[in-house]
Amino acid sequence: MKIHVYAGLKDYFEPEFEVEGEARNTDELKTLLVAINGKAEAMLSSCRFAVEEGFIDNAYKLNSHDTIVIIPPSSGG
């Protein structure tokens, strides 16, 4: 599945990349991402996730064709 990250997460990952391996939900996706870069673990725990411009939670079943946007805590203003 394709991953897009923003802001501080770009210190740990490319802005857009693909992950290999199965992730059925956001918790499993976090595990995959931490395996790629363990330094991102703390930030990932505070992130929201979105698919098709809508927020999702852990109950949402991820599909391999999903493009998942990982959204760190906001810091606008």
Partner: protein
């Protein structure tokens, strides 16, 4: 499967140049300098005895460190939709005549405007309260991030909303004015 419907923001009122007040007033995100005067000119309403304008501007320091400029990044489609949703909710909740907001993306120089919120209502109490509510929600919830670029050449993504440390939920926030 579609995402959880309870998390999907409403599309009503979204759009970078939609109207929330008497005139067609830009709102949402802008990669160009915000036309604050133009926004204010378009925010007046014959039924409004009070107009409140908040301008969030770039300081030359952050926690004691000299700042050269800020750079804002946004997840555009969702940020635009959320700002529209926040404005629509505030307009209904406080019976506003006008509720508009625009937030910068890209590089913003010290002293320049990063975000503008304008509210207009029959009396000042509602305009002040709604304006505070709108800017608080935009800062806490809209997927917009600032990167501080310091005078020493370093940079830092910062001042993130940390409400989840208290609420235990990344989608629940604490608002100072409410």
């Amino acid at each position: 499967m579609t995402p959880s419907s309870s998390f999907r923001p409403a599309v009503e009122g979204s759009g970078a140049a939609a109207s929330s007040g008497a005139g067609a007033v830009a709102r949402g995100l802008s990669a160009e300098p915000i036309d604050m005067v133009g926004m204010l000119a378009g925010a007046h309403h014959p039924g409004a005895g009070a107009v409140v304008l908040f301008s969030g501007e770039v300081r030359d320091n952050n926690r004691g460190r000299p700042v050269s400029y800020l750079e804002y990044e946004a997840y555009g489609p969702l940020a635009e939709t959320m700002i529209g949703e926040i404005l629509a909710e505030a307009k209904s909740r406080w019976s506003l005549q006008t509720a508009v907001a625009q937030h910068r993306t890209g590089v913003v120089a010290v002293g320049d405007t990063a975000v503008v919120v304008i509210t207009a209502s029959a009396h000042r109490g509602e305009a002040y309260a709604a304006n505070r509510y709108i800017i608080d929600r935009i800062k806490h919830e809209a997927p917009i991030w600032k990167c501080e670029h310091y005078a020493d050449g370093t940079h830092e993504w910062g001042n993130n909303c940390n409400c989840h440390a208290v609420t235990g939920d990344v989608s629940k926030h604490i608002y100072e004015g409410l």
